[in-house]
Amino acid sequence: MNDPVLAELKEAFERVSYNRPASTVVARAKRRRHRRRMILGAVPAFGLVAWGYSVTQREITSGNQLGCAESYSQHGNMTVSEKVPGETPEETCTRLMTETGQWEGPPTNPVQCVTHYGRDGGGLLVVPAPEGLDQEEACSAIGAAVPPED
């Protein structure tokens, strides 16, 4: 690509550098994995037996925001930054996961996303399906009401 405009653009960005060491990335990733395992480890305390499901950080918010962890993942964390008009939180969550490439669809790791506290905000729960919990069990696991049906 010999275009002078593109060459100038490339040259300009090549002056910028990113210096985070690999060891920092690896250490942060390991802490992240540890946190995920801690969350999974808490699950049996609810007295439920299922393979491979996980519960998000539970955080109750107010207004039009849903409870959030820092990142999208069907393995543990989920962020829905705002309520989207015309969508349930479950629809938002599923759509965002798909759009952001975090969705590992069936048969590898099918999930359902459910919410508790319905339309008023609250946490999100991510459960593999169909082998995982159903919605009622999942909500029960975090002591939440089953979200109202639309």
């Binding site: 990733a29 959030c68 759009e99």
Partner: protein
């Protein structure tokens, strides 16, 4: 793959790709360095966690790029830093792309995000049209059209800027 092999393999990949990936994400994020750093760091952490699989991926750089470009976490992190009084987290700092000519950055910032993403992959990562289309989940025709539009938008402005530099009023 044991842990040492995993770390060694990931580290080699990371060191070989991080600069280009960061620059591409920085361009796609319109020079928002903080957002780009957050997104790139997060994407590489995810890459490490699934390195056993990703090591077999035909283009792990494309996977990291796609993950980084799709991240929407920065606003949460930035908001938290603002709340905690982090001086690096303000709007001015968030828009800082050091070493890049502010005039050029303004031009890039004026482009729609789709065009910036295509520019980032085609120009800074040297991806082919096909690789760019795959990484961004769009059609090859869209890649070509976005690149063409971006160039159309940038050309006259770059030319005008060069004229100003050579012939200041």
């Amino acid at each position: 793959m044991d842990d040492n092999e995993k770390v060694a393999g990931f580290t080699a990949f990371y060191e070989g790709s991080k600069q280009k990936v960061f620059r591409a994400v920085l361009l796609a994020r319109a020079g928002d360095r903080q957002a780009a750093e957050d997104a790139v760091a997060d994407a590489y952490e995810r890459a490490y966690l699934r390195w056993e699989k990703l090591a077999e991926h035909p283009n792990p750089t494309a996977w990291v790029i796609r993950t980084a470009m799709n991240q929407r976490i920065s606003m949460w992190r930035r908001q938290r830093r603002v709340e905690l009084g982090d001086p690096e987290a303000g709007p001015a700092a968030a828009r800082t792309a050091d070493f890049i000519d502010p005039a050029l950055m303004e031009m890039v910032r004026a482009l729609p995000r789709g065009q910036r993403e295509v520019l980032a992959l085609r120009v800074l990562l040297d991806f082919s049209t096909e690789q760019t289309a795959d990484a961004l989940g769009i059609k090859q025709g869209t890649v070509k059209a976005q690149l063409h539009r971006a160039l159309q938008a940038l050309r006259p402005q770059v030319a005008a800027q060069e004229f100003e530099e050579v012939c200041p009023s």
